[in-house]
């Protein structure tokens, strides 16, 4: 089939373009990784002696380590909340008759099509007007809201493909609705649920602006990195960047991998 629409010349150009794009996409990241092992305070080439200095000073820097654990906690909780709420909502949208379906679905997924900065600023103005102090629990709720649409869309896609009859069979054999969801629906969706957890975790882990607006003194990792970038250069930021890159990339790739491969496998088995 491919030969029908792409001739040899086109194929050559497209391949070249693809490779060039990969170079452009990965070049700066590669440079950052290289610099993270480069000794010397200034970020200039040529490469000097290789060193682990920046990684050592990173581990010794409590402000980075603490903010990392804060982010880890926020992202874990936000992803768990969003996945649970998202699963329940996706189930309702997929299997129940929801009145004003389009409107309610729109409200739930709307945060996805709103610039994040508006969600952050809206919440900040709201808590100021009702007199709540900025705090981490607000960040948690804000980030849950921000990743909820991802969870709903991902899980609804999966639940839509599961025939209602499976659940109905369980119920007519005496199971309750809740039991059939936990024992039948959830296990079928397990790969998608796992992928959704990872996906929402990554997004929440990297989220900056909501956290920035909703806290005063507690610092998440993106805020710590941001402060370092705008207030003056610290050489260990390359090491931080490399570490964060590898951390998020691993999680994101596993999630993406599951969503792209695993689901098609399941669908193939069904068909």
């Amino acid at each position: 089939m491919n030969g029908l629409i792409v001739n040899k010349f086109m194929l050559l150009i497209l391949t070249a373009f693809f490779c060039l794009s990969l170079i452009v996409i990965y070049l700066p990241i590669l440079v950052m990784v290289v610099f993270s092992f480069n000794s010397g305070k200034y970020q200039t080439l040529p490469f000097r002696e290789p060193t682990f200095e920046w990684y050592v000073s990173l581990i010794a820097d409590n402000s980075f380590i603490n903010s990392f654990f804060t982010s880890l906690m926020m992202a874990s909780l936000a992803s768990i909340f969003a996945t649970i709420l998202g699963f329940l909502a996706a189930y309702a949208f997929s299997k129940a008759k929801v009145p004003a379906h389009a409107l309610l679905f729109g409200i739930v997924v709307c945060p996805l099509v709103i610039p994040m900065i508006l969600i952050g600023i809206g919440m900040r103005l709201q808590i100021v007007s009702i007199g709540i102090e900025p705090a981490l629990w607000l960040v948690l709720l804000g980030q849950t809201l921000y990743v909820l649409p991802l969870a709903v869309i991902n899980l609804k896609n999966r639940i839509d493909k599961i025939p209602k009859s499976m659940e109905e069979a369980a119920i007519s054999l005496g199971s309750t609705r809740i039991k059939s969801i936990i024992l039948i629906l959830a296990p079928i969706c397990a790969p998608s649920i796992f992928a959704t957890l990872l996906l929402t975790f990554t997004f929440s882990f990297d989220e900056f602006v909501i956290a920035y607006f909703l806290t005063n003194f507690e610092v998440t990792l993106p805020i710590r990195i941001w402060t370092s970038l705008v207030t003056g250069f610290e050489p260990k930021i390359n090491a931080v960047g490399t570490a964060v890159f590898i951390f998020s990339l691993t999680l994101g790739l596993i999630a993406q991998f599951i969503l792209l491969f695993k689901q098609t496998d399941l669908d193939k088995n069904k068909a």
Binding site: I5, V31, K97, M123, L148, F245
Partner: protein
């Protein structure tokens, strides 16, 4: 039994998520609108008049829009050859892997990626070093901390996002359509024009829309690559909250930003609705 189990009560499942969205999204949005309309002497559009009569704010709005539009256009153009290559030139089995190669950096911190471009574009960065290595002359690039650097940084992001949405549309095209057209003598260009382009359009438009939203609200790339001297609206919002703390001004800017998204998105939304209508007829 069958009858009663058909009617699932949606509310217990829906309420938690809905409550979160109402409390932390809908109510704050309404509050923001009210705040932007509140002035010292009651309700009115004074905040908006003040905004549009303050040159550095209108300039920031103009920059936000120009930046978002240029980056979105550039990114969306690059997305076509990339998605086209992955879908039509790569073996079916390897497609997701090729897509992942383009999307992988997408999953990491936006800020970190913007920062990594500083290392490449700055006056003593990798490109300047490379040019000096080849020509032997020291050059001043002057790319970093300009609008062009911002556009470039965001365009890169847009191209990844649009490639992703366009891939989704192209990969679901029924190959029988293309085979049939080819058997009947259609040239590759005509197959593209009459089959692939129209069927890829919804994915492309979705990518453009999402790209624009991200670009118009972004602060990280304009700050790290564009510099702080010519700020966009998002940068000004950030500095208000941590600086002057003029909340009604912050609300006004937020509403103007939201209106910008709606106005630029409206043609795309209308197009989507018309298309759906046409398909359902």
């Amino acid at each position: 039994m069958g009858g009663s189990s058909n009617t699932i009560n949606p509310w217990p499942f829906l309420l938690p998520a809905l409550l979160l969205c109402i409390l932390f999204f809908l109510i704050p949005t309404v509050n923001m609108v009210i705040l932007s309309l509140t002035t010292e002497n009651g309700f009115g559009l004074d905040n908006f008049k003040l905004f549009f009569s303050t040159p550095h704010l209108t300039q920031a709005l103009y920059r936000s829009i120009t930046l978002a539009i240029s980056a979105t256009i550039m990114g969306s153009l690059v997305a076509w050859p990339l998605a086209y290559f992955i879908v039509f030139c790569v073996n079916k089995k390897w497609r997701p892997l090729f897509l992942l190669a383009i999307l992988a950096p997408f999953w990491t911190s936006f800020t970190i990626r913007a920062f990594s471009w500083q290392l490449v574009l700055s006056d003593n960065g990798v490109i300047a070093w490379f040019i000096e290595l080849i020509t032997g002359m020291s050059v001043t690039l002057g790319i970093l901390y300009t609008m062009n650097a911002s556009i470039f940084g965001l365009a890169l992001f847009c191209s990844m996002l649009t490639t992703f949405t366009l891939y989704g549309a192209l990969v679901s095209i029924d190959t029988k359509l293309i085979e049939a057209a080819s058997n009947l003598g259609a040239k590759p260009f005509n197959i593209f024009k009459d089959i692939i382009f129209p069927l890829g359009l919804p994915g492309w438009i979705a990518g453009i829309f999402l790209s624009f939203i991200v670009c118009v609200g972004d602060y990280a790339v304009p700050t790290l690559l564009g510099g702080g001297l010519k700020p966009v609206l998002a940068q000004i919002m950030l500095s208000i909250l941590k600086g002057t703390y003029d909340l009604s001004q912050a609300a006004t800017i937020a509403i103007i930003l939201a209106m910008t998204v709606i106005m630029c998105g409206l043609p795309l939304i209308i197009y989507g609705m018309l298309r759906r209508k046409r398909l359902s007829v």
